[in-house]
Amino acid sequence: MRASPLLFAFIAAGLSAGAAQAHHSFAVYFDPGKDVTITGKVTAFRFTNPHGTIVLDVVDDQGRTREWRAETNAPVVLQRRGWTRSSIKAGEVITIDGWASRDGKP
C-alpha cells in the first residue's frame, strides 16, 4: 500500500512582490523561514479561490512514493500573470519551491 503522508507546501513562485493571500492565512499554516523544494508528477490541479492546490507524487531518496499537496497564491491573482486552469496538467513533472507547513507532519 502506498503511503500517503501529506505535507503542505506553498509555491514560492507565486509569492513575489505581487503575491496575495486570501482569508486563509498562509502565515498560520506555513513557515516562511523553512524553504522546501520538491519535484514530482502531478496527479491533480485545482484552480479556484481562495487558493489553488497541486497534488503530486514525489519519490523520495529511498524510492518511496509520497503524496504531496501544495497551495498556490490566489488564482484570481495568478490569472493576471497568465495562469489558467490548464497551466498545470496531470502527468506533468514539475518542481515546486515553497514553505513547509508549520505542523511539520509528513
Binding site: S4, P5, L6, F8, L15, A17, G18, A19, A20, Q21, A22, H23, H24, S25, F26, A27, V28, Y29, R46, T48, N49, P50, H51, T53, E67, R69, A74, V76, V77, Q79, R80, K105
Partner: protein, 248 residues
C-alpha cells in the same frame, strides 16, 4: 464704467464653480513600492492608536497582534483559536469584514458620484456603498453587515469615510475578532499626479481592544484593468479534511 466692471467681476466670482473634489475613479492595485505615508495624515490619528504592520502581503502568525492591546476575553478567545477550524465547508468561504478586507493586496474599483461612491473589491467579490449625501448612520440596532454602513465627506482634498454597523469578523486573520460595535474611519488622499492613492484606516472597538488600531495602505492606479470574479470555492476545505484523514 468702473462700477459695471466691478459688478461683472463679482458676478463671475459668485458663478464660478467650487474647486472640484479629487477624482478617485479607477482600478487600484496594491503598491508594492509603497512610499512613506504623509506625516500630516498620520498626525490626524487619535491618541493611543497603534499602526499595525500587516498590510499588503504581510500576515501575522498566531498570537501576534501588532501592538493592539486585547481585553482579556478577546485574548483568551484568540489564543484558543485553531486555524484548522476555518477549514470547514461552512466557514472556508466566509468573507471577512471590511476591517480586514481592506488591508490585503487584492485590487478594487472606485466609482464616484457627488452623492455616492461605490467601492468594488476583488476580495470575496464585496461591494461597498459610501453615502456622500450627509445622511446619518442608522440606529445602533439596525442590521449589521460585513461591509457595514458608510458615510463620507470631503475634508479638503481627503475623502473621509466613517463606517459603523460592521458584523463581527476578524481583525488580523489569526483569531482576533472585532465585535459588532467596531467603529472605523478611513482617510484617502490622491497623489498630485493622480496615480497613487494613500489610505489611513483607523478603528476602535472598546469591547475587544484597550487601544485603537490603524493601517497605512497605498495603491497605484492601473488604467484599463478591472476587478476579476473571486467566487470562493468551499471545496478548498476538503483538501485539508482529506489531508487530515490521510494522516490518521
Amino acid at each position: 464704467m468702473r462700477l459695471a466692471v466691478m459688478l461683472a467681476a463679482a458676478a463671475l466670482a459668485i458663478a464660478a464653480p467650487a474647486t472640484a473634489e479629487p477624482n478617485l475613479e479607477g482600478f487600484w492595485n496594491l503598491a508594492f513600492d509603497a512610499t512613506e505615508p504623509p506625516a500630516d495624515m498620520l498626525a490626524k490619528l487619535p491618541p493611543d492608536t497603534v499602526v499595525i504592520e500587516d498590510t499588503g502581503v504581510v500576515e501575522f502568525p498566531e498570537n501576534e497582534y501588532g501592538g493592539l492591546r486585547l481585553k482579556p476575553a478577546a485574548l483568551a478567545k484568540a489564543q484558543a483559536w485553531k486555524p484548522e477550524d476555518e477549514m470547514d465547508l461552512s466557514r472556508v468561504c466566509l468573507p471577512p469584514s471590511i476591517v480586514y478586507a481592506i488591508q490585503g493586496p487584492f485590487p478594487f474599483e472606485v466609482h464616484q458620484t457627488p452623492e455616492l461612491i461605490v467601492l468594488k473589491y476583488e476580495y470575496f467579490d464585496q461591494v461597498r456603498l459610501v453615502h456622500m449625501d450627509g445622511r446619518d448612520h442608522p440606529p445602533a440596532d439596525a442590521p449589521h453587515s460585513k461591509m457595514g454602513h458608510s458615510t463620507g465627506r470631503w475634508d479638503g482634498d481627503e475623502l473621509v469615510i466613517d463606517t459603523t454597523h460592521i458584523a463581527p469578523s476578524t481583525i488580523t486573520n489569526n483569531g482576533l475578532d472585532h465585535s459588532g460595535s467596531i467603529h472605523m474611519v478611513e482617510r484617502y488622499r490622491l497623489s498630485p499626479d493622480g496615480n497613487r492613492l494613500t489610505a489611513i484606516q483607523w478603528f476602535e472597538d472598546p469591547e475587544v481592544l484597550d487601544n485603537a488600531g490603524a493601517r497605512v495602505i497605498e495603491w497605484t492606479k492601473r488604467p484599463g484593468e478591472y476587478v476579476y470574479p473571486y467566487e470562493c470555492d468551499p471545496a478548498f476545505a476538503l483538501e485539508y479534511q482529506e489531508a487530515g484523514q490521510a494522516r490518521e
